[in-house]
Amino acid sequence: MPAVGQNVLRKEGRGKVTGAAKYVDDLSFPGMLYGSTIRSTIPCGRIRSTRPEFDPSEWVVAGVPDIPGKNVIALIEDDQPCLADGRVRHVAEPILLLAHADREALAGAKVAVDYEPETPVYDPAASPRVFKEILIEKGDLGKGFSRAARVVEGEYRTGHQEQLYIECNGVIAVPENGGITVYGSLQCPYYVHKALVVLLGLPPERVRVVQTETGGGFGGKEEYPSMLAGHASILALKAGRPVKMVYDRVEDMLATTKRHPSIVRHRTGVASDGRIVAMDIDVLMDGGAYLTLSPVVLSRGVLHATGPYRCDDVRVHGRVVMTNTPPNGAFRGFGAPQTLFAAEVHMERISEALEMDPVRLRELNLFRPGDTTATGQVLGADCSAAEVLREAVARTGFDARRQALSGTNAGIGLSLFFHGSGFTGGGEVRLASRASLALTPTGARILVGSTEIGQGTRTIHAQIVADALGIPYENVEVSDADTACVPDSGPTVASRTCMVVGKILQNCALEMKARLGSLSPARYLELHGPLVVTREYEKPAELEWSDETYRGDAYGAYGWGCNVAEVERDPDTFEIRPVRLTAVCEIGKAIHPTLAAGQIEGGTAQGIGYAILEEVVFRDGAMANAQMTNYVVPTTLDTPPIDVVILESAYPHGPHGAKGIGEMPIDGPAPAIVNAIRHMGVDLRQIPATPERVMEASCVSP
């Protein structure tokens, strides 16, 4: 029986439910020390001096002079130091590193830092530095507006969001073989590898990065582990002993990346029949103090900024700028939840302005196969915006519910969205990801740099390989993501692990099957010795993209989604309670339907948190609610029943037709919920929709 499409048992399920799975803080090495970080307490200024308030002879203390290579975190641009280079640009910036054998002694160690403070920038609109600017132009905007019967304008704001992976960031650095081995909770072992080679000035073969079982990432362990691994490695090399650094929750929330806040402005020309004839969109994102991944987050943001709507005359202008706050980074959705929130709330406002049914307005304008996006990409036959909308509307009895709830303290709203799978534009070509498959006596072992962080990488990869080889799922093993033995399959991000890496693995398996011929694996090994097949990403011939002009095929494929949210407003406290959420997602093919549903339910729950609960409060450049008691994420009592519908419309270049799924589900809940609040006559254009904001908007709305 084929494994694909079946709900086979997750590879690591037993280890996780018995407590046997080893996460980084469960590991220990002989002679191991514990490390900690002395961080900036001011947002901006020069460091005059540092003075440990303890006897340094018992301690390992490391600073900039102890960095063997370049003091940078190598990523896109080398602008972020591993340790502050004489000045600090955000609160919690690392300044000095300490190690000691007693974990608790570290907690009490104080270092006096004398600063010369400078004036910080917190308002992105007033930032003196633009990290990245992107312009997308299609058609003639002036001509488009000249055809408009109405012009609708609006500004929409989203806040920071904390990934709040349940396991905090942590690594152990072990000096060995004239180099360093790092074990850690991370998404992208080869990102850490690249950063350590530069930071430590070591040849690549002396740096080894091993992913330990990882308690969630959601993007939050994409780039930050390079920083933490750097710190632990500097200490370990200086001490000549293994060093463990595991953040507690407060430090993790204060110091590590969050979702970029955004301000998005729309000016839209609409013809009298409801067709959109001109879109002028301005996107501003707050990157924080260093560039990190901000250009790529902005890119995905602007590429999704129109929403899934056709328009001939479009301009999207995006900027991501510096502020003196901790750098923002990757979080599930990666720029798209921000711009899709704006697009979908704006769509609702257009329907209000035209007094037109919101479903009908979307039906008129949504992308259909053959339509072109803002970058000129012609959408393929798997474009399913109409199908997801139709399914969600029919399933929820949307029109009838909308009428029934009118004038009550409840509302119903919807959002229509899409999400590109894999790296943007030429990104996959530049990554040139590789995957390997090794023959074993009973089947095969998968060798990929892709990580299991809960989403089911091991399981779905094994399903794809099992079917391509024609062997049982149980006979496929999955190697640890260890740079000493797996190839670089690119980062585990961007909803690419199934569609892109899964496809490379499928090709490996098909080649292996051809080489085996009629021989059993055991017989082949006996006759010919070991067999390892390695394949590289192959770009579909029709994909074309220009980074210079931002024209062409931005993504190989898109997933399509529609959410319907029904909410209630507490008449006294103004709290918003989601009553029910319907999530219809078209994802090409569900390799493992239960895992796929889990991704949709999980992303939806995080989207509900983004919409109404999760507010990062900044005070003087620092997160003021950096703990789980007052940064609130959905519990079972906050999460309504989620009705998940998976539609399948195959993408020809995905394994079994699969497209990406991990990120898309978080795009829809916030606009659907805010549109449901709007249904109650409340003009809200900002998230999170906290009781304070809902009360304020309720009191000024008619």
Partner: protein, 238 residues
Amino acid sequence: MADDSRSGFTRRDLVRGALVGAVAATAGAKTPAEADRGIGPGAVPITLQINGQTHRLTAEPRVVLADALRDRLGLTGTKVVCGRGACGACTVLVDGNPVCSCLLLAAEVQGRKITTIEALASDGRMKPIQEAFVAADALQCGFCTSGMVMSCKALLDRTPKPTRDEIRHAVSGNLCRCGTYPHVFDAVERAAGIRTAEGRAHPPDGTPVFQTLAASRTFTSDQRVDAGVAEALDLEEA
């Protein structure tokens, strides 16, 4: 909610501080290093009944149960996540009741019956609730799973046939950022024999389940506008 974390002050710091005065009179003298740190009166003998075995250790009275389990006894299946009882990841059973082991001092649970995740499959065979978690895929990253399983076990021990609402409340203190909640409900209902393991059926309260459908192809680009209007009208009638 006036909790201000900018100082980096944690619940464990609070426990340390509060106990310095309370226990100093009865405990042994401080070593010079501990006196410098000002965080405790020195180690005392502690005897714990864990998973049917007696463990004797020497630890400062301020040491919380979670740290004693993980750092002193090597029982790393219990996870520490927030350190202040906000997430439930460190849930263990004390006399059968689910509690946050990051909020309990090891010294105060002497003589009580402590059960951790390691006890559940100690004979190599998973308990029905664990089997159900695997079968229903009621876990993703797994870091909340130990605590989640312990809360579910405590529920089933006292309520063998829980309602959906009882399950929802029983795990409301266990945060799962992966959002596995619907799968957890499914797992508990399977372990309770309320539903069979043949996939997710509609539970009695009508909570929906996911479906996989083939997307139908209706539109082509050249008929888009007219078809779109027709489609909109169809939807209005639906």
